[in-house]
Assembly symmetry: C2
Homo-oligomer: 307 residues x 2
């Protein structure tokens, strides 16, 4: 089966590494996930880390590898310079950087940058974006990619026109585990539920224009005064942050455009419910699938003879 | 000189302990500051900790002690139940709890609570509030007490009508030292400057209605794309958070009421500048002085014969 492999695809981020071997149609033949993010891999050597995982999957020595994510950052393996928006997404394909000095053909996809009054950058999400839109032949719309640093991209006539980043996931983790709210959320940080009444109430409050900064401490107070449960606290915190993100993104995009939500699992459920509360139409695209499709599209474009 | 001491006043919080010996007019005769916050003191014993500091200042054995702050919380020495708003501030004086089973007369001032749809609590700030308003015979207005958990109180006809809490200081510390923004702020976390152009721009952006959550990552991007300096990053982060706090408080209080700003040092400078940018009149009251005055008012009311 391994002989049928055409490409190796990798999403290599700050804290995790994912690798797929795919055939000429993009079907997954083998998969590897590990915690070999940038910090671990820098110490061990990027080539060694990658070759180790490839060999564990039985990949041939001449299998080309395409990589997206923070591996292409200044702190990564080789810097792949940002492509500025507005950008034809195909430009990120031609901007892929080849790693020099190694036998295997390995390329890293560049991120997107936005200069001017709202400076912004992304790395990894541009590949998700490519996968999400090429697959459905989308030229206009809003693409939401929630996560540690949620990205919202405005797509116009097939080009990534502008984008915003919301620190939602990172702030949730910090607040739930390190702030005064840790006494309220406790071990329930992963138990935020889209079906908890606190989630809905919090999303609605944020959509009404209230400011999140003035509502966070209320979670602590509600625990002291009203015995708010840890699950309730987690759901409320999640609702405040996701609600603030959606309210911000709605304000920027000017309202009711259809959203392509690129997410999986618990994240998909929470954001889906919040978009529903915000009365926002959306289509769900699986995040894992989107990044893999984006990587495959990039690989087929760079090495078409192999496709 | 110690013989002239009428009261010992203490502000006893989660992470710090402050003690003053004052005469019958409230003049400071001696002062002690230490890191003996709740956690340290709980292990060593609250009585032992307090008596140790009193004895270091040469306080007589029968000197009465009044305490405000988290020492009166459920996790503190003895719980002093919250007084609910709307509250006559004198109610916090009559609600002071006497510590039983010790020779010395020691009392702890209760906090304020707000139930209903915006649950909230404070401990320590109610005493600052008392000091700030009694001294200037204020009956109506907005009192802003910035800090780890900034409190904004609406005072009406001499009563604390309602209040809000903003997680500004805590969020600043978490974002500057633990989030992706630590790479931008670095060691400059204490170098946020009210005079840096980034501070003004950020405050103005938040007052314009923009959402803070969507602007935080821009600090990282501006470092990568525009070489934003650590001082610029700290000033921008501070401006975004303080700006969001003031925008939220303005929205709640309905606009242009005069503000009594209870703050000291760098905090006074940052909030003063932000209120100025927001075109908000304010009077500055020193935070240390306010809490000491509040404690003295409480002591004189509880033990009038000593005054």
């Amino acid at each position: 089966m391994r002989n049928a492999a055409c490409y190796a695809l990798s999403d290599w981020g700050t804290s995790r590494f994912r690798l797929w071997l795919v055939d000429g149609k993009g079907h997954v033949l083998a998969e590897k996930r590990s915690d070999d993010g940038l910090d671990t891999s820098r110490n061990r050597g990027f080539t060694q880390t990658l070759e180790g995982h490839l060999s564990a999957l039985g990949a041939p020595a001449d299998l080309p590898v395409i990589i997206c994510g923070m591996a292409g950052s200044r702190q990564g393996w080789v810097e792949a310079n940002y492509v500025p928006v507005p950008a034809d997404l195909k430009a990120i394909l031609s901007g892929a950087v080849k790693i020099e000095g190694i036998a295997r053909d390995v390329r890293i996809i560049p991120g997107l940058s936005q200069s001017g009054t709202s400076p912004n950058v992304m790395r990894g999400e541009e590949t998700q974006l490519l996968g999400a839109i090429l697959d459905r032949d989308l030229s206009n719309g809003i693409i939401a990619m929630p996560g540690t640093h949620s990205k919202w991209v405005t797509l116009k006539e097939g080009r990534a026109k502008s984008f915003s980043t919301y620190l939602t996931g990172e702030l949730y983790a910090l607040l739930a585990s390190q702030s005064i709210l840790r006494h309220s959320v406790g071990d329930a940080a992963t138990s935020a539920s889209p079906d908890h009444p606190q989630f809905k109430a919090a999303v609605e409050l944020m959509l009404s224009g209230e400011r999140m900064l003035g509502e966070l401490f209320g979670i602590r107070a509600a625990m002291l005064l009203d015995n708010l449960s840890p699950e309730g606290a987690a759901s409320r915190l999640s609702g405040l942050l996701i609600g603030a993100e959606i309210a911000g993104a709605k304000a920027k995009s000017g309202g009711k455009n259809k959203v392509i939500l690129v997410a999986s699992g618990a994240m998909a459920a929470l954001y889906g419910k919040a978009l529903h509360i915000a009365d926002h139409d959306f289509d769900l695209v699986d995040a894992d699938e989107a990044v893999r499709k984006g990587l495959f599209v990039a690989a087929s474009s760079i090495w078409p003879a192999k496709g």
